[in-house]
């Protein structure tokens, strides 16, 4: 009885009126236009025929949507969901893609980043996937995006209340490397029994003299659930705390989704005498000179000389553009 027939569409503008949120008409990048077999010459967004809007069928989307509502209602709790096979392998963002497919609408503007970059294989292919199956606008600019799917970074540009972040998560269970049994970890979450998490961090201190965990650094959400923030560098952990944007996390292989609502307390685990601290660098970005952003190390010659550049390519580009404008 469901009305989920195959859905095709040639002109999204005729289907749905403009979004009321303040971010209406931007100059949006149509970088993938040449790859769309059905794009007409006027440049209108057209999508693949034979797929439902955003690839997933409506029944699957509804199931994921109901899961997302429960994830938002219990921040940090991992909701099991019936993960579907996606047309790319596990580990390439199948969990994030299913969440994106479930929330994406015709007037969304999608940005996809992979380790901060918009131009790596994973980011390009996922962006193209949704441009083709949903016909949505895509962008590389953080302020223009309404949905940002990310692999392992949070943009440096502050997020807004109208944006939704979708994280790709490999192992959603922060306790998994300590306790391999799902039955046990579920009980530990139910009993709020997180002592072993601190033991793990303490073992770092005993071995290295400091907490050596530098990514996927565990956090406590709203003083209840311990959550894996996905393999973002711990540099990004403070951006989760009281963020104005809704954060959704999807693990495709493990078939779990979880969420952090906007304005939620997210605290990184630490000790009084070993407080949580983020990475810092003595160098600045070789391109834009930023001293605030997360830097990647590049080896530039056989002698092993190093340069540091921003991991967030859009942030770096914005700063360079602003500098050029200032110079003119």
């Amino acid at each position: 009885m469901n009305t989920n027939e195959i859905y095709t569409r040639s002109e999204p503008a005729s289907v749905v009126g403009g979004r009321s949120a303040g971010s209406g008409m931007y100059d949006v990048v149509h970088e993938d236009a040449e790859h769309r077999p059905y794009a007409n010459q006027a440049g209108a967004v057209a999508c693949e025929v034979g797929y439902n809007f955003a690839y997933l069928d409506e029944q699957t989307k509804r199931m994921i949507r109901r899961g997302l509502l429960k994830a938002v209602a219990v921040p940090g709790y991992q909701v099991p969901f019936g993960g579907r096979e996606m047309p790319l392998p596990y580990g390439w963002g199948t969990g994030g893609m299913q969440l994106t497919a479930a929330i994406l609408g015709a007037d969304d503007v999608l940005k996809v980043i992979d380790q901060g970059a918009d131009d790596t294989t994973n980011a390009v292919s996922i962006r193209r996937f949704f441009a083709r199956t949903a016909g949505v606008k895509t962008t590389t600019r953080t302020p223009e995006a309404t949905v940002i799917q990310t692999r392992h970074r949070i943009p440096e540009t502050p997020l807004t209340n109208d944006q939704i972040m979708v994280y790709q998560v490999p192992i959603p269970e922060p306790l998994r490397f300590i306790e391999p049994s799902e039955t046990e970890t579920r009980t530990m979450h139910a009993l709020e029994d997180y002592g072993v998490m601190h033991v793990k961090l303490y073992e770092d201190i005993a071995t290295f003299g400091h907490i050596a965990t530098s990514y996927a650094y565990p956090v406590t959400v709203d003083e209840r659930y311990v959550m894996d923030p996905s393999p973002i560098p711990k540099f990004d952990n403070p951006k989760l705390h009281m963020s104005p944007a809704l954060m959704l996390f999807g693990a495709g292989r493990e078939k779990r989704l979880y969420a952090v609502p906007p304005f939620t307390r997210v605290v990184s685990l630490d000790f009084d005498d070993h407080p949580f601290a983020i990475q810092s660098w003595d160098e600045c970005c070789a391109f834009c000179g930023s001293r605030e952003s997360y830097l990647d190390e590049l080896i530039i010659d056989d002698a092993g000389s190093k340069r540091f550049v921003c991991s967030d390519t859009d942030y770096c580009m914005q700063r360079r553009d602003a500098e050029e404008e200032g110079a003119q």
Partner: protein, 203 residues
């Protein structure tokens, strides 16, 4: 009423089943992520005594996997026929079996027996869809919790009995999540929201 002439009750649902469901879901998601803020929900028409927002929530959430419990005032042939045709959701008589419950203001006074999940699976709880005449004009209460930057004043016209019942069924992470719908608007109230009921608590 025989099944044969059920079709006389049928009305159109979403104009565009795909995009209207998506738009309605996003409003609901935003409503739940930012409790107390009214969100627009205008993609459906009224169905009998169901307001457009209430009907849109039903169409966006319900399908064959979601047993629904109907409050007596919504248990009409028209609502049963349309929900069964457009959503295909089973309507159950026992509250314990329901994943969704469609309630009116009077029904919101009795939340007993709705499943509020377990410590291990708090997500397996019933979601309440509560239709009110309006979303303002009640006693002003202060809401606090995830999704609310500081404190938000909300004036839902609900009787104190609802808040007592909600508290009685709540032991985080167990609890009941609610959507309040009226006209073409919806307000979300997840179990994580702490509602300050009187002046002593607020102080």
């Amino acid at each position: 009423m025989s099944a044969a002439n059920n079709s006389q009750w049928l009305q159109a649902a979403f104009n565009d089943p795909v995009l209207d469901a998506q738009t309605s879901f996003r409003s609901a998601l935003k409503a739940l992520a930012e409790p107390g803020l009214a969100q627009p929900l205008n993609r459906a028409l009224a169905l009998g005594n169901l307001h457009p927002a209430t009907y849109a929530l039903c169409l966006a959430f319900l399908d064959g996997d979601t047993p629904l419990w109907l409050a007596p005032c919504f248990d009409t042939p028209a609502i049963r026929a349309n929900l069964s045709f457009h959503c295909g959701c089973p309507v159950v008589a026992e509250r314990e079996e329901a994943l969704f419950a469609l309630l009116d203001e009077a029904g919101a006074d009795d939340l007993s027996a709705f499943d509020n999940g377990s410590e291990r699976y708090p997500d397996q709880s019933c979601t309440l869809l509560i239709q009110l005449d309006t979303l303002t004009g009640g006693e002003q209460l202060r809401w606090r919790g995830p999704g609310i930057k500081d404190v938000r004043a909300v004036e839902l016209p609900l009787r104190p009995r609802f808040w007592q019942q909600r508290q009685a069924r709540s032991a985080f992470p167990r609890g009941l999540d609610a959507f309040f719908a009226a006209g073409e608007q919806v307000i979300g109230l997840p179990r994580s929201t702490h509602v300050l009921l009187n002046a002593e608590e607020a102080a």
